[in-house]
Amino acid sequence: MARITHGLTTSHIPAVGAAIDLGKTQESYWKPLFDGYEWTKSWAKANVPDVVILVYNDHASAFTPEVVPTFALGCADEFPPADEGYGPRPVPVVRGRADLAAHLAEGLILDEFDLTLMYRMEVDHGLTVPLSLVYGQPDAWPTTVIPFAVNVVQYPPPTAHRCFMLGKAIRRVVEQFDESLNVHIWGTGGMSHQLQGPRAGFINTPWDTAFMDRLVKDPDGLAQMKHLEFVREAGAEGIELVMWLIMRGALGPDAEELYRFYHVPGSNTAVGHIVLQSADTPA
């Protein structure tokens, strides 16, 4: 059977992608941020999964004002990088995993999660920046990826609770897949940040720290959090943190924290990064 062994969270700040692409990672502004990912890069090299289910949000790249899917599952064989207005990022095409995606589509929809299924989709910084942070600049990504896009742009986004339940369902459905696969799941976005209005630049470090603690130890409690608290305490774009609950739900009840990193600022944003191992993972 397939098994979800590990999860991680990371911000997906577009300027981080630009810093990587333009060779600026050793500049004084950026170095502390990239140093914080060195542990993960070594760990990731030694623990390459067969598939990453990558939970992220599209930033007006694949989804236009014409269509707003709450949950969209990438079912194609490949996903090219999008041109977000600066030209596409110079990163490899993302290779999908269509058989597992088809299995997830069937299992999750029968479990009453009414997904949108994507057979052609370009992927933006929300998906490619996390890959760059974890895998650097290879000629090809070392793993296949199933993109899982969540609407956190138009209100209401899905609730934290719905995201957590979806994560639990993803775990059940992955375990019903016949082939033996090692699957990781990533939750991206956050942490506190606001990119609009007079309140832009909002950062709440104590709240972010408590959120990471609860993500590990008290995900059931965290899943009760209302949208209003996310926006009030983590900024308008901090609502992206609901996506972390999908990752956490998919790791099972207990998870061990392997690594944590927190840094302000990455452009306008608090960078939160945590690597978790499911307690069910065989040694």
Partner: protein, 130 residues
């Protein structure tokens, strides 16, 4: 307005992008999406007014684009990830564009971020004055 939507209006300096605002900003956000194509970016830069006049945007939306008044654009139904296509066309980063909405000079905004960002104190709730 539902109570769900109304609750967010208690948060200072913030407009969440509701279904109602999405409808209001539809043509504006579609214009932004058109700038994802290089050829359109070139045409827009060559004659902004003429390019805007080809769209179905309202006059006040067009004017706010010409003024690069991002707070006004958000009031008129724009959403920041769509509006990003405008400042990307201008060659600006999120940091540069976002700072214009705060009334702070870019240097001051950047210093604030380097010192840990805008403190939540006083920015949580209008009614609670917190």
């Amino acid at each position: 307005m539902t109570s769900y939507t109304a609750e967010f209006d208690d948060i200072p300096g913030t407009r969440v992008f509701t279904a109602e605002r999405a409808k209001k900003g539809y043509e504006l956000n579609q214009f932004c999406m058109s700038l994802m194509k290089e050829a359109n970016r070139e045409r827009f830069k060559a004659d902004e007014r003429a390019y805007l006049d080809e769209t179905k945007m309202s006059e006040e939306q067009k004017q706010a684009v010409l003024d690069r008044d991002y707070n006004r654009l958000i009031d008129l139904g724009g959403q920041i990830y769509f509006l990003a296509k405008i400042f990307a066309t201008d060659g600006l980063s999120y940091l540069q564009a976002v700072s214009t909405m705060t009334g702070m000079p870019i240097d001051e905004y950047q210093q604030m971020m380097l010192h840990g960002g805008r403190s939540p104190q006083g920015w949580r709730s209008i009614k609670d004055g917190d």
